[in-house]
Symmetry: D2
Subunit: 132 residues, 4 copies
């Protein structure tokens, strides 16, 4: 599990005085990137090997709004690993209060965007870091 | 059903050369706003009456990427109406090709963000425009 | 001169209830793209020839705020053409009221991002469409 | 002078493989907020007193692009203080390489968005922290 802290900026807010709903998907991406880095699978290095993790499904449940200048934490886990995809799950919190939960699913694809099976080294790391 | 056409800008893209996944939620909002306007429930007027439609759930299935300068259409429907919430569903297309489908759920709330039942005039319009 | 109309979305606003200041640069890009298309220099086609118009300078003067659901118009002009760059100027209006004025400067570069002189066909079109 | 480090996300990039030009204004806002916090003028507290710092002018010179996953630093200074406005200046760097420089001007306004003179306590702090 990776935990990433972020400060909410004015740019993140909308006229209801809370974070605009699409922005949580940006926050998820930041959490996902740090999780991958933490387990030794820097996403930039994956791209340099010619592979990508596009998104095929995203889901978000909004419980309580994040507001300007709050420091939120994004807790990211790998919740599923298949032969050629991962699912990440997210909890966004502010001072232990749960704000948003989400999930994203990512096939593993090559430069032609064709799904491919994970190389063994990557598969091993992902499975080792699968959420218990 | 409302159909809204949008041109993809450079700002919408990411370094994979396609629309960044969070941006579809912005497109959904634009579709939703135009659907409400079309059925006579301009969202700005709803806000002026002291009511809001925040989002409590959003879901997105990505089938094929939209790219720079494409003209996409967002087809928006009201797929469910309860006593105090609506669910909208979306199909994003480019030249009849389906790119993304999505769904968002919105409780009806007052200024204190408390869920409230729809006034009869609003309820009637929503139900009349429920997707068959 | 190209004139492009855009509807302000919730995503564009911030908690002051007006359009977030960075978003006008997105609007400028949309105006610039439509201006180029109008004069026969579709930006996508320029990229396909291996050239780009990155931005080296941008400036924005904010006079009056655009608000949610407003329809704004972006009036874009080519205000300067040199051997290897253009400058565009912008006026953002709402019902004839001037909201924002801006300017962006773009060198003409190749795939290695090196500045190059305009091919004659492009230069001719740009000069013919220089703002009087 | 405040120095703030930020990691470039996928959301920040465009299809040229670099940070989209409007996003630097978001980065400037983040730097500005941290500078104000550092000198004891938390922006949220200023808003709670009924004052705002909208933007009336912004300028950006792009020297070299920031790219995905880079850690950039935003160095923010107060470069001018008048009776009722401040000007901030920014340098965005990556490993000591200068990427972008910018400037933003902010009148001090009340809830009706009317410019007002700074209260003495705020003026004193701003002047004490004016860039030498």
């Amino acid at each position: 599990m990776n935990s990433l802290a972020l400060r909410i900026s004015y740019a993140d807010t909308d006229q209801m005085g809370m974070v605009y709903y699409a922005n949580y998907l940006d926050f998820f991406e930041r959490g996902r990137t740090e999780l991958l880095r933490e387990i030794g699978l820097e996403y930039k290095a994956i791209e340099e090997r010619g592979f990508y993790f596009p998104v095929i499904h995203a889901e978000c449940k909004y419980i309580s709004p994040a507001k300007y200048d709050h420091i939120i934490t994004i807790e990211t886990n790998i919740s599923e690993v298949t032969a050629a995809s991962i699912t990440c799950s997210y909890e966004v919190k502010c001072h232990e209060k749960l704000l948003v939960i989400g999930k994203t699913k990512h096939p593993f694809v090559n430069k032609e965007l064709k799904p491919v099976r994970f190389p063994k080294d990557i598969k091993d790391v992902l499975e080792k870091n699968l959420e218990k």
